[in-house]
Each structure stands twice: as C-alpha cells, then as structure tokens.
C-alpha cells in the first residue's frame, strides 16, 4: 500500500542553522501539506501546496519557512534560521482531490 515517507526521522541542529525536511508524498496525489506538533501540544497546520504554489499558510509559516517541490516526487520544508521554539515533530501529508489526507511518520526536529 502506498504511503507518505519522510526523512530524516530525527534531525538535531544548532540554533540559527538551516534545516531541510524531506517528504515523498504518494505518487498520484496533488495536494501537499506540512503540519507541526510541539511536544504535548496539538497538531498545527503550517502550509498547503497545490499546482506548484502555496495555496494557504498559517501564521506560524513566516519568512523563515519555505516549501518546494523540486522534482516530481519530493516535497521539502526549509527553515532558514532555526530557533529553539522550532523544535517539534513535523508531519507531511498528501491527498488527492476531495479525499482524506495521508500523513507521513514525521520528522522530529530538535534545535539546541
């Protein structure tokens, strides 16, 4: 059964460093999403992406964040200059039109 994959599973970085979180959505999906979950808190929407552009973003998704679909399979989230409060689980999700979102297993980002 096809699934969303994410790499790495755990990323440790120093404050101020750039990180890129990678996702491979399910191959025939058209809509892509990033969510994050700070430890012990709720899953929060960051950004949605469709037709090679951002379709919606939350207040959390500021200028330090960017997304890209560099090729036909990968979907990346970049954080330019990480802050301590960026430490969280980051989930990628994808879906086809009108259907449910399938979530990846997440990348745990730890900013020291």
């Amino acid at each position: 059964e096809p699934e969303v994959t994410q790499t790495p599973s755990h990323q440790v970085t120093q404050m101020g460093q750039e990180v890129i979180l990678r996702c491979v959505p399910i191959s025939n999906h058209l809509y892509f999403y990033w969510y994050r979950q700070i430890l012990g808190q709720k899953v929060e929407f960051l950004v949605s992406f469709y037709n090679n552009e951002i379709s919606e973003k939350s207040e959390i998704f500021d200028d330090q964040f960017s997304v890209e679909r560099p090729d036909g399979s990968n979907f990346t989230l970049k954080i330019r200059s990480t802050k301590l409060e960026d430490s969280a689980m980051y989930f990628c999700a994808s879906k086809r039109q009108g259907n449910e979102q399938f979530f990846g297993p997440g990348t745990r980002l730890t900013v020291l």
Binding site: Y31, Y35, F91, E100, F102, F103
Partner: protein
C-alpha cells in the same frame, strides 16, 4: 475561544467497554475527519464525514456528523488495548484548501 473542542481530554476504560468521544466546532462544518495518533508517530486516517447526519463504521468504530449542532461523535464498541492512542478530529471549513485544524485530541487508554 477555541474553534474546536474535544471531550473528554483523556479517558481510561476497561477492555470490553464502550466509549464515546465528542468533537464540537464553533464554526460551520463542511466536513470532518477522524484520525488516531500513537505517541511519537504519524496520524492514521480513520474516517471522513462529509454530510450532515452521515454515519460511518469501520470495524468497531462508528463516527457520526451532526452539522446542525456542529459536532461529531466517535464511538468505540467493546474497546481493546489496540484502540489506545490519541484521537483527533479535524474539521474542514469552507474556503480552505482542505487543511485540517485539529483539536487537542482525546487520549484513550484501555486497561486489559
């Protein structure tokens, strides 16, 4: 005030018992998704409800959407330890690209 309220926040039941989790929105619902999350893992899709009054079942889990009351309930019959986890409801609202706004979730523990 919160857009989305789930109740109860946590629940401990004896194996074999039935239970109900509720999700109430302060905004008009256009659809609602139920997901389950195990600690430190991704979200697993359970059910999608799109019409008022719609009820869906999968194995021992039944979910219902009452759009007039702007709420949904998830009912588990004869709970098992495998049902343990965090149950999240994620409504979709009109005008969005399907991005999910999750509640804080209901943490379910099932005692053998």
């Amino acid at each position: 005030s919160q857009e989305l309220e789930q109740s109860p926040q946590s629940l401990i039941v004896q194996e074999g018992k039935n239970l109900t989790i509720n999700c109430t929105s302060s905004k008009t619902l256009y659809g609602l998704y139920w997901y389950k999350q195990k600690y430190g893992e991704g979200l697993i899709f359970l059910m999608m409800l799109q019409k008022g009054g719609e009820e869906k079942s999968h194995e021992k889990i039944t979910a219902k959407l009452d759009e007039k009351k702007q709420q949904s309930s998830l009912h588990i019959t004869a709970s098992q330890p495998s049902h343990a986890g965090i149950y999240l409801c994620g409504p979709t609202y009109g005008g969005s690209q399907g991005n999910l706004i999750f509640g804080k979730g209901t943490k379910l523990s099932v005692k053998p």
